[in-house]
């Protein structure tokens, strides 16, 4: 097995539940800017079940990418992970050493980055970049098995073997994205984080690439976090959806229920603003400004824009709680239950 985290001694394990492959607890990330602290991820907790597909939606700047990258400890300064736990199979990634974390990347938790168009090194052939990735996790030899694995993953993302000899600029956008997916599954990770993997592609290619991603994910049995804006895409692809707003996770619910019966007022507005078949009008949009993360509002992040605001929403931050089975929401409207 290429996986390394499993071999960690038990004492690093925190009490954990077997049905959670990834368990994120109270994660807090901020950017230290000249103007002050930007709280991009503010006390976020959620979990991922084995083989599950979790969607993560939210408007631009709500902290999705920051959250995704902090799970793999890939953030650069001025970003600082201020606290929390990221338990992958019971092991807290945030407490690993640099070298342990390096080995966990790709082998246990892989990234398909936002903007895959520029995610391949333009100076290296595709094959070299794939080889590089495998070699970094091999302790010795195994050249033939390495090559075989590379051809395997290329085949499973429906690419010809010949692309190993191509430079990235010789590939189309969709092909590059497939290379990134191939890279992601190269070492059979337990969790794949896909950050808007198709946002730069046109709709037809987008659909094909998503189908491929879905297929390799289920073949692999890995869990996936799919970050994106597109609720339509989410509806087709994921099992559960998490909604981010101003650096906070405001709701996590199964995908069907979030469309049928959104709980959080923000989710309601988000779903309500989608163009439906009956009313073919444009997006209604949500009135009001996106919150400033430099000087966030007190209490609930959403209260300045919330149509159902209660008096103590301005004072008290609502925690994310499970109000019905598998339905998590952070809103004072549901405090009673």
């Amino acid at each position: 097995m290429l996986s390394n985290v499993k071999t960690k001694p038990v004492d690093v394990r925190t009490k954990t539940r077997a049905d959670r492959i990834l368990d994120v607890r109270n994660l807090r990330v901020s950017y230290q800017t000249g103007g002050g602290q930007v709280r991009a991820v503010n006390d976020v907790s959620f979990f991922l079940r084995p083989s599950e597909r979790l969607g993560l939606v939210g408007e631009s700047g709500s902290g999705k990418t920051t959250m995704a990258l902090s799970l793999m400890r890939l953030l650069q300064s001025p970003a600082v992970i201020e606290g929390g736990q990221v338990l992958l199979d019971g092991v807290d990634l945030l407490s690993l050493s640099e070298e342990e974390m390096r080995r966990a990347r790709l082998a246990d938790i892989a990234l398909i980055p936002q903007g895959a168009m520029n995610s391949l090194n333009p100076m290296l052939k595709v094959g070299e970049q794939l080889r590089d990735a495998v070699t970094a996790h091999m302790d010795s030899g195994g050249k033939t098995s390495r090559e075989a694995r590379i051809f395997d993953v290329l085949e499973s993302v429906e690419l010809s073997r010949n692309v190993v000899n191509a430079y990235p600029h010789e590939l189309s956008g969709g092909m590059k994205q497939r290379v990134c997916i191939a890279m992601g599954i190269l070492l059979k990770p337990k969790v794949i984080i896909a950050d808007e993997p198709t946002s730069a592609l046109d709709v037809v290619v987008q659909r094909q690439v998503m189908e491929t991603l879905g297929r390799v994910q289920s073949e692999l049995g890995a869990s996936i976090i799919l970050v994106g804006h597109d609720m339509g895409l989410m509806a087709q692809f994921v099992d559960r959806v998490g909604v981010m707003y101003g650096g906070k996770l405001v709701e996590v619910s199964p995908v069907r229920e979030i469309f049928k019966d959104p709980l959080h007022p923000y989710t309601q507005l988000l779903i309500g603003s989608l163009p439906t078949l009956e009313s073919k009008e444009n997006f209604k949009g949500i009135s009001g400004m996106t919150p400033s993360l430099l000087t966030p509002p007190t209490g609930c992040m959403f209260h300045p824009r919330c149509p159902q605001v209660l008096p103590h929403c301005q004072v008290e931050i609502p925690p994310l709680v499970e109000i019905k089975p598998d339905r998590w929401v952070a809103c004072h409207l549901y405090n009673g239950s």
Binding site: L69, M123, A133
Partner: protein, 339 residues
């Protein structure tokens, strides 16, 4: 998939020919545009002088004939260009009947070795220093130490040359003050000769290296910062590559081609600086010979050296241009799509 792109090569070689053409045209025009009719002054000076020296009249006639000074301007120009194309610069005026080539020839070797080696050292060191300055993993102390190389960039070549000459050659006597080897030494590939040449080259080379290193490091640092900000660096880290691997194969490797382009752009300036360094150290390269021929009003040699300097830099740039596609696979592609 990636063959030799003929269009690219033809364009580059055309560029090289253009350099020769423009440099030669400058050579032709400058004396004729200069106020006070220097050509007339030269010929009258020569005809005066020729009375006094042996072969003087022959030299004067040869000069008139060679440049067709009695012909209309366009014929003079054509003749001049034809001679230039054959790299035929005629005879030296101050050392007649010696050929211009007899003076330029030995000088070329010294200049190319001095400038070539200095530029190579500076370029490699500049890449390393700049890369380490931009890399987050570099210890702070090392960064501050490396930043010291920027100080040299503040002084012009010739000033540092003078200072080094003063301290190391004049005051401390540890290194020779002038020349390329001990005077009177036979030019042969023997151990003492190489040792002497090396000792003589240390100060001039240091002048070139120390003054330009900071600039290269700074430019490399800028390129590295850009490279490090690229999306593919994130994926490289997400792949779990080792830090050293990312530094060499992804960051430095990718910043080298644009840095090489900077070199191609800056080479003319580097050579300009080296000319002055040679003069300060009386280093018998092209720069020093150029100076001597100005002192002696040896116009044929001046023209020859100016042209050879332009041709050499042009050739070096051509080589960089031809190597470049090997380093940056995107180049041929870009050339194809735009042309």
């Amino acid at each position: 998939m990636r063959g030799l792109d003929l269009g690219y090569f033809i364009r580059r070689i055309g560029m090289f020919l253009l350099v020769i053409f423009v440099a030669a045209s400058f050579n032709f025009m400058i004396p004729r545009l200069a106020p006070g009719n220097p050509i007339g002054a030269i010929t009258s000076r020569m005809s005066n002088a020729s009375a006094g020296i042996e072969n003087g009249q022959a030299m004067f006639e040869a000069y008139r004939e060679r440049f067709g000074l009695d012909d209309p301007l366009y014929i003079q120009y054509t003749k001049y260009m034809w001679n230039t194309l054959r790299l035929d610069f005629g005879e030296s005026l101050s050392a007649y009947p010696a050929e211009v080539w007899d003076i330029i020839g030995p000088a070329i070797g010294w200049s190319i070795s001095l400038i070539g080696v200095s530029v190579l050292i500076t370029f490699v060191l500049g890449i390393l220093i700049g890369a380490l300055l931009a890399w987050k993993g570099t210890p702070g102390i090392l960064k501050s130490l490396l930043s010291l190389t920027m100080i040299g960039g503040v002084l012009p070549y010739y000033l540092l040359a003078m200072l080094l000459l003063y301290f190391f050659a004049f005051t401390a006597h540890v290194l020779p003050m002038s020349g390329a080897v001990e005077s009177g030494m036979a030019r042969e590939l023997s151990w003492p000769f190489i040792k002497s040449a090396f000792r003589h080259a240390i100060l001039p080379a240091s002048s070139i290296i120390l003054t330009s290193l900071g600039g290269w490091a700074l430019s490399m640092r800028g390129l590295m910062v850009n490279t490090i900000g690229e999306d593919y660096m994130l994926l490289a880290e997400a792949k779990g590559l080792r830090k050293s691997r990312i530094l060499w194969r992804y960051a430095i490797r990718n910043a080298i081609p644009p840095q090489l382009m900077h070199l191609a752009i800056a080479l003319g300036h580097v050579v300009s600086g080296a000319i002055l360094v040679e003069i300060v150290f009386s280093y018998p390269g092209l720069g020093y010979q150029l100076y001597m021929s100005i002192v002696n009003s040896d116009y044929t040699v001046i023209q020859g050296i100016t042209l050879i300097l332009a041709v050499s830099v042009g050739l070096a740039v051509l080589i960089i241009d031809l190597v470049y596609p090997r380093l940056d696979p995107r180049v041929t592609y870009v050339a194809e799509s735009s042309g």
